[in-house]
Symmetry: C2
Subunit: 198 residues, 2 copies
DNA sequence: GGCCTATGTTGACAGCGGCAAGATCGAAGA
DNA sequence: TCTTCGATCTTGCCGCTGTCAACATAGGCC
């Protein structure tokens, strides 16, 4: 992990970190691979050896994004009680947390076609996120796994969480995005609770 | 409206039309101003005289997008009965219709920061969309206009419609996006009905 | 010790958005 | 009717981008 040598040591990791900063700074739409390389202190063509092209880098970044996304939901669940229905609501709060804290990453995952979603690692990461929510809803509703009833309920909960996260992080729902902290949490919980759970 | 003359006649309109095609073809992220100009059969610098820069063009396009968006909701409402609650559900269906039929335009409006949302025309178009839904929910719930109760309910309905539209148009909710026609409508309605209206 | 491959660099290319300077046209006023 | 003037459109340039090919370096394996 030498700092100044010709070979970097862990350039792949360094590029991913730089890309996260670039993404937060510039957003998905203005993302520049050359700027990422500059941030990492490396020539503009170096990333190609690790990610192929810009799509490769964004695909890897999206896979990491899904992990952070799940972690954000899990963090709220850990803070909440063990009641299954509370867990669903907590996950919804975490969903919105993630959209607000890492908006660009959220958009990369949910509103961009730059990543390659056929990529196995990315597909797996996405499936893990779906599985996470699905399991929560299954517990809260008592629906059998893979039952039509469950998928229908998951769709409703997911859509509500996602809609809130997207609208609030974009500033489209000013009635909520103008709030902060506990007040915002309360407003989001109110909306989440409007979705029938049982 | 001469076709082959040096001066186009209505290049502004022609550019907007070409931009709609470009948007549908390439998506927001790969949108190219020069390609729009080529589509319109005009030099690459011509659009600048009508829209300033690419942001200007996309801003104008987004404003038109909002009108189409409202029209899509209205179309479903017209097909539905006059019951206020049915109207809300119909608008939700129209919301999803729009996201599926004009995905790129939907993304331009809801998940892009390329347009300038400070632009008065665009801000007005966006406010009109909010007002449209808000009025529907007010009628369906009997809440007073501008009451906190109403804004809270609007948030819930809006989020559900938006979440469904976004997830389905992105193919994230395969359980719904794999359906078509009446089957899909039914699945969406089921999810929409899970949001409490009264 | 000597090669070999992974990992870097440099330089080129076309396409992009934006700007400046020139060409063309339509219309308004002398 | 003629002329001038401003709006509209073109051409050409700039720096930026992503990608590719050719070359440099270094660490590991025989």
């Amino acid at each position: 992990m030498k700092a100044e040598s010709y070979h970097h040591g862990d350039l792949r990791r360094a590029l991913l970190d730089a890309a996260l900063v670039e993404l937060a700074d510039q957003g998905v739409e203005a993302f520049s691979l050359r700027r990422v390389a500059r941030r990492a202190g490396v020539s503009h063509a170096a990333p190609a050896h690790h990610f192929g092209d810009v799509q490769g880098l964004l695909t890897a970044l999206a896979a990491e994004g899904y992990q952070r996304f799940i972690a954000a939901m899990q963090a709220r669940q850990d803070a909440a009680g063990s009641d299954p229905q509370e867990a669903v609501l907590a996950a919804g709060l975490g969903y919105v947390d993630f959209a607000l804290a890492e908006t660009a990453l959220f958009r990369l995952i949910h509103a961009s076609n730059k990543p390659d979603y056929e990529d196995p690692a990315l597909a797996a990461a996405g499936a893990a996120a779906y599985g996470h929510i699905s399991a929560l809803v299954a517990e809260a509703t008592g629906c059998a796994l893979c039952s039509p009833e469950l998928t229908s309920r998951v769709a409703a909960i997911w859509a509500q969480s996602h809609g809130l996260a997207d609208l609030v992080s974009n500033g489209r729902l000013t009635s909520i995005s103008s709030l902060t902290g506990a007040e915002r949490d309360r407003a989001i919980l109110t909306a989440l609770r409007r979705v029938l759970l049982d």
